[in-house]
Point group: none
DNA sequence: TTAATGATGCCAAAACCTGGCACCATTAAG
DNA sequence: CTTAATGGTGCCAGGTTTTGGCATCATTAA
């Protein structure tokens, strides 16, 4: 985790919990006490007002007034975005939710502090139930950037994709396929691809793909993927 | 000098001078040519449009239109937001997805059109499975505005809320309750409230609430809502 | 043709970040 | 008073990231 991301996470957590301790923050963002204290100093340098009190019963508290800048989105719009992203996260840690959070943090900073405060308080009243059975995707988070970097050109330029794949039995094989679609069955993402060697479609769990790499100079045609009827396009209707 | 600070300095200098060269920038901010070029790439990733032309008489120029984008979102961040919102919509039409789309549309406008086109093409390759059994929430969409308008002050100022409620058996009753939380069990939203008349918690399906209205002048205290263990706060956990 | 310029890959050195440790000051509880 | 919890600082070894230099290429105007 990046310094900047961690500091954003700290601000979010402070905003959410109202008051907490250094040890708690360290646990929450997965860093040491020392690092948290350093981050707090950095944040104070950047203008965030963070009250702190040593001693038993003391703690940290973020002054809500200490966020400023200009706006372009309406409060309702930001609220809606917030809900979407947060729900997705709650749904089981889909990939990219960290990125989305990061983007939202920037957007939130563009709200008038007063409205932002209201938004936060309102949001604190929201809870979500579990959407899907929990699956271990602990490694997925760190692969996002690599996967995205490799997949984007593969889909855009229709280049073949090579990677090594670890199937359900733990057997690792090397693959060279034509990416056709990505299928999301929360919280697991699949790559659906045509395997020229096997002359058939195959689907691969994202979290079992490693070392993905585009094969430059290759090209292929899109195929009609035989999805079941309960699978539908993700593309929003209107936007 | 920090990476971020240096990149800000580059943008300021480009804005100020109108046009310049890499060597000039390197001199100005006290870094090497190589580093400047790296920074320019980062800035482009974040959406800044920087024209550059090689060759004698060429140079760099910052597109003034891209400066209006005060919120510096990276392409990856917008992509992540897009995924979240689109998935939510596909997952069963949660309330507010229209608003979220609208907000995203504004954000997308801040992207270079070329990148936006790529983003859309990439998104065409995504599909999503069904998250939860389908429920009829056809009316929910039109109530969003009313509900939001009524609920926001109720939660913010802790005012009692009156509405008429149609229970599962179709019996309509008049309610006057203290709103404590909102619970999302996709795709259905619930209002969790303390009912003073019954001295107990009650939950109400959003799509069965009608004519909600805040009762001015009332006030109450927040209570600890006895949620089951698989219910968790919607507020994003730290990244 | 030539010199200026943007652009990219590579690599070793420099800079920075991190986590652990020792230690201190303050505070509330017992 | 003693004790445990807490915020805060200095220091250092190890790890990660950033940086600058270099070679190289493409493009453009003089």
């Amino acid at each position: 985790m990046n310094t900047r991301l961690r500091q954003d996470a700290i601000v979010r957590y402070l905003r959410r919990t109202g008051a907490t301790t250094v040890a708690d923050l360290a646990q929450e963002v997965g860093a040491s006490r020392r690092t948290i204290l350093r981050d707090l100093n950095s944040l104070r340098d950047e203008g965030f007002v963070i009250h702190s009190e040593p001693g038993r019963g003391g703690g940290l508290q973020l002054d809500p007034q200490s966020v400023q800048t200009t706006t372009r989105l309406s409060v309702a719009e930001v609220f809606a975005l917030l809900i979407s992203v947060a729900s997705m996260r709650a749904a089981g840690g889909l990939p990219f939710s960290d990125l989305a959070d990061q983007g939202l943090a920037k957007i939130e900073k563009a709200l008038p502090p007063e409205k932002l405060r209201d938004l936060r308080r309102f949001l604190d009243c929201l809870y979500v139930g579990q959407l899907a059975p929990q699956v271990d995707i602990s490694d997925l988070g760190e692969m996002d950037a690599d996967l995205l970097a490799a997949f984007e050109p593969a889909f855009l330029k229709q280049l073949r994709l090579q990677f090594s794949y670890c199937d359900a039995k733990g057997v690792v094989t090397q693959r060279d396929v034509e990416p056709q679609a990505m299928l999301i069955l929360p919280p697991v993402w699949y790559l659906v691809a045509w395997d020229p060697a096997r002359q058939d479609f195959r689907h691969f769990r994202m979290d079992r793909i490693s070392a993905p790499e585009c094969v430059e100079g290759t090209s292929f045609r899109r195929r009609h993927v035989p999805f079941k009827s309960d699978v539908r396009p993700l593309q929003p209707a209107s936007a």
